[in-house]
Point group: C2
Chain length 368, copies 2
C-alpha cells in the first residue's frame, strides 16, 4: 500500500475511529486501526467487537493495500506531524513507513487479514433524523443510564420509533429520563436497546447541522453520519415497561426557575455529602420552596420563589439526581409534579420540548 | 463578628489564601481559613506552617471579630453564592452564619485563638522586582527542581541577589536551569533557598503588570504582591556550587529553531518511551541534526536544519529533559553548546535573555 493524504484531515479521521478502539482489549489486533484503500478512497476502521467505527478520507492512492497499525501510537504520531502531506507505505513484512516533511517513522504493523470484518447492514431501510435533535436526545437522557453491571440492560437506552414519534429512554432504578420528538417515518416501527457507550460515542461524532441515518438489524444498529459509519451490537432482553411507572395525576404542581432551583440545590448539596446519600429536603409552601440540608459541620436554608398549584408538601431527594437533570434542561422554567412524599416526582420543561424526568424521593422519618 | 462584602471579591480572595492551606494536614485548625477584621478591613489567612498567605479585602465591618472556618467548605459556598452582598456573622459559640440573598448557611467554626500567627517580617528592607520578570524566572526554572524527597535542598531554588543581578537556580542532578536579570538593589546582597511549592504558589498570584516586593529574614522569605503577603520558610543548608558545573568552553555550537527542534524531539519521543529513559539520539553533521529513536515497535528518523560551528558529534539524551526546557523558551532560535558526548550540553536562547539550561547526556555504547 502507498497513499498520500493531508495531515490535518487524517488526524481528524483517526480521532473518529479511535473512539471505536478499546484500550482494555487483550486481543492485540484490536488495539490497531485498519487502514485500507477502497474505491479510490482511504478507509479507516476501529473496532472493539461491540462497537465498530468506519470512516473514509480522500487522498492519493499510489498503490492499493491494507494494514493494521497500533491505534494510540499511530494517532499520536499523526497528530504531532506538521500540517503537510503524509505518505504512508507498507512493505511485504507489514512494516509501515510514515513520511512527512523531515520526519520518517517505521512502525511494525499487522496483516489486515486477521482484522475482524465490520458487519454489512442493509442501508436501504433507514430512518433519517436531525443530528442536532438526536444529540439533544442523548444529552438529556444518557446520564440516567445505570452504571450497575449486574443490570446490563439498564446500561443501555431504549430507542422507540412508533409512527411519527421517536423516544429515547434511560432508567437506573432511581430515576427515568424520556426525551421524545417527531420524525418522518416511512419504514415502520422499531424498538431496540442501544448500549450507553455507543450513544456517548455517537454523540461525540454528531454535529449540530444536517441529518444522519439510522438503521437496524435484529442484533445491530447502524448510524450513518456523513462519511462515518458506526455499528453497535444491541442489548438483548426486555426493557422495563416504563410507561406504567409514570403517574397519571398529581396533587401539587410547582413552577420554578430552572437556574435558580439548580443553584439552590447545588449550594444545599455542599452540606449534604455526609453518608453519600446527598439528602436535601424540600418544604413546599404557598409561593416558596424551602430547601434545607444538614450535616455535622452545619446546615443550610435556601428559599426559592415558586408558583404552587395544589397542597403543601415536605419531601426529600438525593440532590445529585436533581442536579444532573437540571443541568441539561434548556427551558428557563420547569414544572415539578408531586403526589405524596413517597411517590415519584416528575420534572418537565415549561417549553414545548417533550421531556419527562421522573425521580424517586428518599423516605425520611417524621422528625428528621 | 459581623461583616458584609461583595461575593465576587470574596471568592477571589478566598481562592488566593486557599493556596496556603494544605489538604494533607492532620491538624484540624490548619484546614481552616482565618477571617479577621482589622483596621476597618477584612483579613484572610491560609497557613500550613511552611507557607502562609494573607490578604485583605474591603467590606463593611458592623462588628469586629475573628473566626476560623473550614477552607474547602467555605470556598465552595462562597463561589456558589449569587453575585451579590454576603453577610458573615459569628456567635459566641463560634458558629458562622453566611447570608446572601435567599441563602443562609450555619457552619461550625473554630476560635481564632488557636490559629497560628503569621510571622512579622520587617518590610522595610525589601527588593522591588517586576512581577512579569519574576513570573518568567519561575516558569523557566521551576520545572528543573528535584522531586526527590531524600534531597530536600534540591526541592527548592536558589535565589541569589548580587549587586544589581538577580538569579533563580534549579538543579535536580540531571539538569540545571539558571535565569538571571538586572534589578535595582539598594539594600545589599542575599542568597536564600526558596521551596519550589512556594514559588509555584507565588507564580499563580503574580500578575503580568507592576512590581512586587521581596524581603528576607534568616529563616523566612516574604513576598508582598499588592494586598497579598506570602511568607514561606526557607530551606536550610548549602546549595550546590552550580557555577563550577557550567563548562567554560565548547567544541561545537549548533544554532537551531526552537519550535522545530521541540516538534522533532516530541515526535521522536513517541518511540522512546520503552524502558522509561526516553532515549533520543542526536547526530550532528554539517547543516543537519538527525534525531533518531527506536523501540521494539519501530523507529523514527527526524532531520532538523541547523547552523553548525565546530566538529560533528553523536550524543544521546532523555527527551523529557529537552522537551520541558524547549517549551518554556520564548526565543525563536537557540544555541546548543557541546564539548564531548559524555559532557553536559548547554542550551541558551539566541535573544538577549540571560538563561542557561544545562543537561547531562545519556551514555550509549558505540554500536547502540
Amino acid at each position: 500500500m502507498k497513499i498520500i493524504c493531508n495531515q490535518k484531515l487524517l488526524a481528524n479521521k483517526v480521532g473518529t475511529v479511535q473512539k471505536g478502539v478499546s484500550n482494555k482489549t487483550t486481543i492485540p489486533i484490536l488495539k490497531g486501526i485498519l487502514i485500507e484503500t477502497i474505491d479510490n478512497k482511504i478507509k479507516l476502521i476501529g473496532n472493539d467487537l461491540e462497537l465498530g467505527i468506519e470512516t473514509f478520507l480522500d487522498g492519493e492512492i499510489i498503490e492499493e493495500g491494507s494494514i493494521v497499525i497500533d491505534s494510540k501510537l499511530f494517532g499520536d504520531i499523526i497528530r504531532k506531524l506538521p500540517d503537510s502531506f503524509v505518505e504512508i507505505t507498507t512493505d511485504t513484512e507489514n512494516n509501515v513507513y510514515i513520511k512527512c516533511e523531515n520526519s520518517e517513522f517505521k512502525i511494525k504493523g499487522h496483516s489486515s487479514e486477521e482484522y475482524p470484518k465490520l458487519l454489512d447492514v442493509d442501508e436501504n431501510r433507514f430512518y433519517e433524523i436531525s443530528q442536532n435533535l438526536f444529540k439533544n436526545m442523548i444529552k438529556q437522557t444518557v446520564f440516567a443510564i445505570s452504571q450497575d453491571e449486574t443490570k446490563p440492560i439498564l446500561m443501555g437506552e431504549l430507542l422507540e420509533i412508533e409512527n411519527n414519534n421517536i423516544s429515547l429512554v434511560a432508567i437506573d432504578g432511581y430515576r427515568l429520563a424520556i426525551r421524545s420528538d417527531k420524525i418522518e417515518n416511512f419504514i415502520g416501527n422499531s424498538k431496540v436497546i442501544i448500549p450507553g457507550k455507543a450513544l456517548n460515542e455517537v454523540n461525540k461524532i454528531l454535529s449540530e447541522e444536517g441529518n444522519f441515518k439510522i438503521a437496524f438489524t435484529d442484533k445491530h444498529c447502524l448510524f450513518l453520519i456523513k462519511d462515518t459509519k458506526i455499528i453497535t451490537r444491541l442489548l438483548e432482553g426486555e426493557f422495563i415497561n416504563y410507561r406504567q411507572l409514570i403517574p397519571r395525576e398529581y396533587n401539587l404542581r410547582v413552577q420554578v426557575n430552572t437556574k435558580k432551583l439548580l443553584n439552590s440545590i447545588e449550594r444545599a448539596s455542599l452540606l449534604a455529602k455526609e453518608g453519600k446519600n446527598n439528602l436535601v429536603k424540600f418544604s413546599i409552601r404557598d409561593d416558596n420552596m424551602i430547601i434545607t440540608s444538614n450535616s455535622e459541620i452545619g446546615n443550610v436554608y435556601e428559599e426559592v420563589p415558586i408558583l404552587l398549584e395544589g397542597e403543601d408538601l415536605d419531601i426529600a431527594f438525593n440532590s445529585r439526581y436533581f442536579i444532573e437533570a437540571l443541568k441539561i434542561i434548556d427551558s428557563e422554567e420547569i414544572y415539578l409534579e408531586f403526589t405524596t412524599n413517597v411517590s415519584p416526582c416528575i420534572l418537565k420543561p415549561v417549553d414545548e420540548i417533550e421531556y419527562i424526568y421522573l425521580l424517586l424521593p428518599v423516605r425520611i422519618s417524621a422528625n428528621a
